[in-house]
Amino acid sequence: MTTADATSVPAGRSKPPVGRSPGQLAWRRFRRDKTGVISGCVVLFFFLVGLGAPLISLLYGKDPDTQYGLERPGLLSDTGIPMKPNGGIDGEFWLGLEPKLGRDVLMQLVYGIRTSLLIALVVVFIVTAVGVIIGITAGYLGGKADYFIGRVIDTLLAIPSTLFFLAFTPIALALFIAPGKEAPAWLRATALILVLSVFGWTRAARLLRGQVLSLREREFIDAARVSGASSRRIVLKELLPNLVTPILVVVTLDVPAMVTTEAALSYLGVGMVEPTPDWGRMIHTGGDYIQTVPTYLVFPGLALLIFVLAFNLLGDSVRDALDPKSHR
């Protein structure tokens, strides 16, 4: 009996508002969620900083590449440690100087956001697209296709992914890079994206497959088929709009996951290389300086923590807004 649900509309509201789509309702619910809005703002802030990095650089008057510490005497000691306390924080270098090369930490962080976000977003885009296509194929076609895809996913899940990233990023890089030529940052990013995507799609695919499987049982799909709708139409017009929610969920789960994976790869030395600013690499280097220049670890570590935290919180709120029944 679904009648309890039936009455919830008239019982809940005396007069239903006119033509408010489920999306609009979710948006209203989201706006009421303070944590969600705040974390959304933080996430937005990160995006804006990433987008506006050149502008910030212009206003701040520093860039991420200049080796201030090497150019100007008096900034670094003769073993390369910032002379001023707290990692060289002062009015000029707001978050201090990088030890050894003496680049500006704030700028490194700001441009690091770009690297992380760009890679993560592209990967998430690919992964979600692939996941959606494969999930729909498996869920909608079912049968052999589903079985096959299921086994592929099982297999991928059984492979320790970090190890694979580690082993294959060099191979993927070798595919792209001509010997003796400097690989442009975008080429490295492409290789990284490729490797991350190969493993990344399973989560989206599994989630969407499940969703499609349950959607397929819904009678509105039958209704469309009875009217003679083609599979194309069913997928595009009937299924996809209903997959927006799980897709959003996947995205909010995957973006922080990819940002941290990318950072982890850089940490392990197979991610982006100098001089492309990168959080993971900063953290790795920072670990060595925890006793001498702790700020150099604290800032990127904190940035990563805040970003992931905000995204996780945002994800929770998005999920709650999209699925009111999940109200915890």
């Binding site: 009996m1 679904t2 009648t3 649900d5 039936a6 009455t7 509309v9 008239p10 239903p16 508002p17 006119v18 033509g19 408010r20 789509s21 489920p22 309702l25 079985y147 086994r151 049982e217 819904r218 009678e219 509105f220 039958d222 209704a223 469309a224 088929r225 009875v226 009217s227 003679g228 709708a229 083609s230 139409r233 017009k237 009937e238 709009p241 209903n242 927006v244």
Partner: protein, 341 residues
């Protein structure tokens, strides 16, 4: 209003219709663990403009039959003829012209409407798919349809979640009407609705059937509702039709013990009628359709079963003394009045 007289032209005929679903054990090497004999060789005919009822207990194959007729499923055996054309294995393209003529109404008013579409686009959907541009445009037609099913035409732009169950069911009906079908398969269209709302929808369907001359295959488990809506009724048990008759005959003079038991199980809202109604209580549950009993499928719960019932499957035949078109599949048919007429 009088009963629709002698059946007119045959609209849809199914013969030997069979639907066996393979059931697989989950796991790596899926092997066929057996088949669910959801529908196992049924014959039925739906005439133009008539309402054909299908009753039976849960899992007996009513929905499957309905979906076969609507060609949502491909039968494993048997044929379906629509308007003289064999459509049993017609492809989507071949079916295109027929799609506009056979429509379906679903049980669950929640899952049968896409929550992401407006009412307008839900109802216009079938027209869009079939490229039908009614005079005055689709929107006008949608408004008309909304009015026909008793909804405010201004609600065109609303989403399904803003409607109550009964209203949603009307939207589903409007969608089925959009293509001006000749046959509607209604799979338990009122089972999910509240009693007070149920009557609204039944009345609406009845009006449509009479006014638009649409034929219905009306699936229900509520015998009273079927009786109210359908002129001819078939009773199903475990994938087979066990009895088929005109409603007067079926309710007044059931031949099959199962029909008999069914009828006597329905509680009547009249506290007095209980007293003089004979009660037949079946024991046990419906056997599994994966491994149905041999011979007569009802024999495991039948109080009259004898050896022959296990060995020989009774054919669905017109019994002596029965009225024209009243057929039952039983070795030891009953002939008792159940409901005083």
């Amino acid at each position: 209003m009088t009963e629709v007289a002698a059946p007119t032209k045959e609209l849809l005929t199914a013969s030997g219709l069979q639907m066996h679903f393979p059931v697989r054990a989950t796991g790596l090497f899926s092997r066929k663990a057996g088949v669910v004999q959801a529908v196992d060789g049924i014959d039925l005919t739906v005439h133009e403009g008539e309402s054909f009822g299908l009753v039976g207990e849960s899992g007996c194959g009513k929905s499957t039959t309905g979906r076969l007729i609507a060609r949502l499923l491909e039968p494993t055996a048997g044929t379906i003829t629509y308007d003289g054309k064999d459509i049993t294995h017609a492809s989507r393209k071949q079916l295109a012209p027929i799609r506009t003529e056979i429509q379906m109404i679903f049980q669950d008013p929640y899952s049968s409407l896409n929550p992401r579409h407006t009412v307008g686009s839900i109802i216009a959907g079938p027209m869009e798919i079939n490229g039908i541009d009614p005079p005055g445009g689709r929107q006008k037609r949608v408004r008309e349809l909304l009015e026909t099913v008793g909804l405010n035409p201004e609600h065109y732009n609303r989403y399904p979640h803003e409607f109550s169950g009964g209203q949603r069911q009307r939207i589903g009906i409007a969608r089925a009407l959009a293509l001006q079908p000749k046959l509607i398969v209604a799979d338990e269209p009122v089972s999910a609705l509240d009693v007070s709302i149920q009557a609204q929808v039944v009345n609406l369907l009845q009006r449509l059937q009479r006014e638009l001359g649409i034929a219905f295959v009306f699936i229900a488990h509520d015998l009273a509702v079927v009786r109210h809506f359908s002129q001819r009724i078939a009773v199903m048990y475990l994938g087979k039709i066990v009895e088929i008759a005109d409603r007067v005959d079926l309710y007044g003079n059931p031949h099959h013990p199962y029909t008999h038991a069914l009828l006597s199980s329905v509680p009547d809202a009249d506290p007095d009628s209980e007293k003089h109604r004979e009660r037949i209580r079946l024991t046990g549950d419906v056997p599994s359709p994966i491994n149905p009993p041999s011979g007569c499928r009802f024999r495991t719960r039948c109080w009259k079963a004898q050896d022959i019932c296990a060995s020989e499957e009774p054919p669905l035949v017109q019994l002596s003394g029965a009225t024209e078109g009243h057929r039952a599949a039983c070795h030891f048919p009953e002939a008792r009045q159940v409901v005083p007429e």
